[in-house]
């Protein structure tokens, strides 16, 4: 069905089409509209056989999902920023126990200073927690990725986080092609867990593992995570075949083939970057865009392949490690076995990313390694006193 919808409402609808049995959440901007809508869908009887549980914290939200999924039912939650940090311990727990929970992360900056607007610091704070992390470029992709997320999660037994830019996507009204219930049912089979809390066949889940076996447990998890790259690609292809939209997979390449400069980015800013590179290419430049759709596991080989002929690589990222630099840039550099990568830190705490700002930056000939887009130099020179 084609209609106009707010991103959050469309995401909630897509989640409902996946027939979860337990939805639990705790409010935090900008995730709120997703769970409000999900609650409404449950209470109005549009989501049969599902319970919406209001909890007292994010720790409880993910813990309820952990309990429900352990007992064998499909579970969903959503959060942002401080919320994902408040539940951090449970984030690791869910992946360590191989529970295929799906969670939306409405991406937002992490305080202090407290800031409710969009960037990717929250996702980066849990990037190594063992979850599969998919980034949506558009609200249509957000819808499609949630449907794929349940299937990926249950196929590879890993929780999946769908990262959706706060406000820019969650609160934006877009044209959405919402699949029908029958279509989603045909794509996503009912959840059929192998191991769960069952009185007929009692198992202990969440055992303590000593140094004797811990390395093996971790190594096996590592192998499975790597294997899931292929599953993410395959399920993306299946989705494209059934729904005609190439919204999943590992990477999205745009004019990368003959590009001299390739811009690497994730999430909603990819749209702006594509528009800009179209303009630049029309002026005779040779830009391509590589969007990372599956950030975890990181598709290093596919990234290297895609970037192999580029003369210049610019990574635009909405987070960075204080005192270190770009996070995605470091991973790109690693995938390429070294090599020059320019980092553009942009959109922190919701700062607008305009085509004009990016244009100057992409065409600039400086050899600065890390550029902070739109940095107010006057503020820095007024406030910065080296303390050594």
């Amino acid at each position: 069905m084609l209609y106009q919808s707010e991103g959050s409402q469309a995401i909630a609808k897509a989640v409902a089409l996946c027939r979860p049995k337990v939805i639990c959440a705790y409010p935090i901007t900008p995730q709120t509209h997703i769970v409000e809508k999900a609650g409404e869908l449950v209470r109005s009887g549009q989501l049969d056989g599902c319970e919406f549980i209001n909890v007292e914290s994010e720790m409880a939200a993910l813990s309820v999902a952990i309990g429900a999924q352990s007992a064998g039912v499909r579970s969903y939650t959503a959060t942002s920023s401080q919320g994902v940090l408040y539940m951090a311990e449970a984030v690791y727990n869910a992946s360590g126990m191989e529970l295929p929970i799906v969670m939306t992360l409405g991406n937002r900056a992490v305080g202090a200073p407290i800031n409710i607007w969009n960037d990717h610091s929250d996702a980066m704070a849990v990037k190594d927690a063992g979850w599969i992390m998919l980034f949506a470029e558009t609200n249509q992709e957000a819808v499609d990725l949630h449907i794929q997320a349940f299937k990926i999660a249950e196929t590879v037994k890993s929780p999946v986080m769908v990262c959706v830019d706060g406000f820019i996507l969650t609160h934006a009204y877009d044209r959405i092609d919402m699949p029908s219930q029958d279509e989603v049912d045909a794509f996503l089979p009912p959840y059929n867990p192998e191991t769960y809390l069952d009185t007929h066949d009692p198992v202990a889940m969440g055992a303590m593992v000593s140094p004797e076996y811990f390395t093996e447990v971790r190594y096996l998890a590592h192998l499975r995570k790597k294997d899931s790259l292929e599953v993410i690609r395959r399920i993306g292809n299946e989705f494209a075949k059934q729904f005609g939209r190439d919204s999943g997979g590992l990477l999205h390449e745009y004019n990368t083939e003959n590009a001299e400069t390739i811009i690497v980015a994730m999430g909603s800013m990819v749209g702006t970057i594509k528009d800009l590179t179209d303009e630049l290419n029309a002026e005779g430049e040779k830009f391509g865009v590589l969007s990372i759709a599956s950030y975890r596991p990181f598709p290093a080989a596919a990234v290297a392949e895609s970037l192999k002929n580029a003369e210049k690589i610019i990574v635009v990222e909405k987070a960075f490690a204080l005192g270190v630099g770009g996070i995605l840039s470091a991973e790109i550099r690693l995938a390429l076995n070294g090599g020059a990568v320019v980092t553009v830190v942009a959109g922190l705490g919701g700062r607008n990313i305009t085509k004009q700002m990016l244009r100057e930056c992409f065409l600039s000939k400086t050899d600065e390694e890390t550029v902070f887009l739109g940095l107010k130099r006057d503020v820095i020179s007024r406030e910065y006193r080296p303390n050594c």
Partner: protein, 318 residues
């Protein structure tokens, strides 16, 4: 004492006890928590024909029972984290309800630290929503698994690794402590009870009652710890009994926030009889201990005896 008939035996004393926590686990000798948990889960198992699932908080009980590749539990059992057992149990209960297994009753269990401190937020949430979970706290009055540090449930003046008496400092501060049963009652949940491993028939009866009630239930079990309290492993039951007899651990039941029944003490003893055999209170019996320090715990015991009517016939409400 009434005569023991075969039919009147406790679950623990029967040959077909479910044995939900099998031997071979790694608890210390004389561990009150191991005994308490076995009695609780066995009684629940028997009461509902084995239709139970258990969620365990991190702590001694979890660590000594599930070290891979061994596992002592004969029931479906989940350990997630230290502070989230109540929330995880809420999820399990929801899943059972939503997958046509409403007959499976859910128990969450943890130590005093996992209950009154780090897990209190999720526990309060579970109470407030009246989720269909029986939460059992095994109270050994400190963080035992990490080496006997003070918790919010540590009895005043006790020596722990983080409240070592020193000069005029007499051990765990004279705070009122968090007595979780009263906090549970303030949520007006259907059922709250305290129990002791020194009175297994009473403990089993309370568990059997609780597991058959729908909604949030809370049972707080007093479980002495020989390692943390400093007494010989053979004395666990005796110490537990002295706690009850002194009035320092009152036994009662409450429904919807009101005490409906308390168990009168058969033979009241001075607090000292309970405290003196434990090394964690040894400093209270040295020289030059200020009078009010020495009397402090006796005053708590006296106040419990009055409050819960433990001297007379106990409280016997409708």
């Amino acid at each position: 004492m009434s005569e023991l008939t075969l039919g009147g035996r406790t679950v623990q004393a029967t040959s077909d006890r479910p044995n939900t926590l099998t031997s071979g686990h790694r608890a210390c000798q004389g561990c009150g928590e191991a005994l308490g948990a076995r009695c609780v889960i066995d009684a629940a198992h028997k009461a509902v024909n084995g239709k139970i699932a258990v969620v365990n908080a991190t702590g001694c009980l979890e660590v000594f029972s599930c070290a891979y590749p061994e596992n002592s539990w004969g029931v479906p059992w989940l350990h997630s984290l230290f502070g989230n057992a109540a929330a995880a149990a809420t999820g399990v209960a929801a899943a059972m309800r939503l997958s046509g297994r409403e007959d499976v009753r859910v128990i969450a269990q943890g130590g005093d630290g996992g209950t009154v401190d780090i897990g209190m937020g999720t526990l309060s949430g579970m109470f407030e929503r009246n989720d269909d979970v029986l939460y059992v706290c095994y109270d050994n009055q400190a963080y035992m698994n990490t080496g006997v540090q003070r918790s919010g449930a540590t009895l005043a003046l006790a020596r722990t690794a983080t409240t070592l008496p020193n000069g005029s400092y007499m051990g765990s501060d004279r705070k009122t402590g968090k007595f979780m049963p009263q906090i549970a009652m303030a949520h007006e949940i259907p059922y709250t009870a305290t129990a002791s491993i020194s009175n297994i028939p009473d403990l089993e009866e309370k568990i059997e009652k609780a597991i058959n009630i729908r909604g949030a239930k809370y049972v707080h079990v007093h479980v002495p710890c020989p390692l943390g309290w400093g007494y010989p492993p053979s004395e666990t039951i005796k110490i537990a009994r002295l706690a009850v007899r002194s009035g320092l651990f009152p036994l009662f039941e409450a429904e919807y926030g009101k005490v409906v029944k308390s168990l009168p003490i058969d033979e009241i003893v001075p607090a000292e009889a309970y405290l003196k055999p434990q090394r964690r209170f040894a400093h209270l019996f040295g020289k030059n201990v200020p009078r009010d320090e020495a009397d402090f715990l006796q005053n708590i015991a006296d106040s419990n005896i009055r409050k819960y009517g433990l001297k007379s016939g106990g409280i016997q409400n409708d």
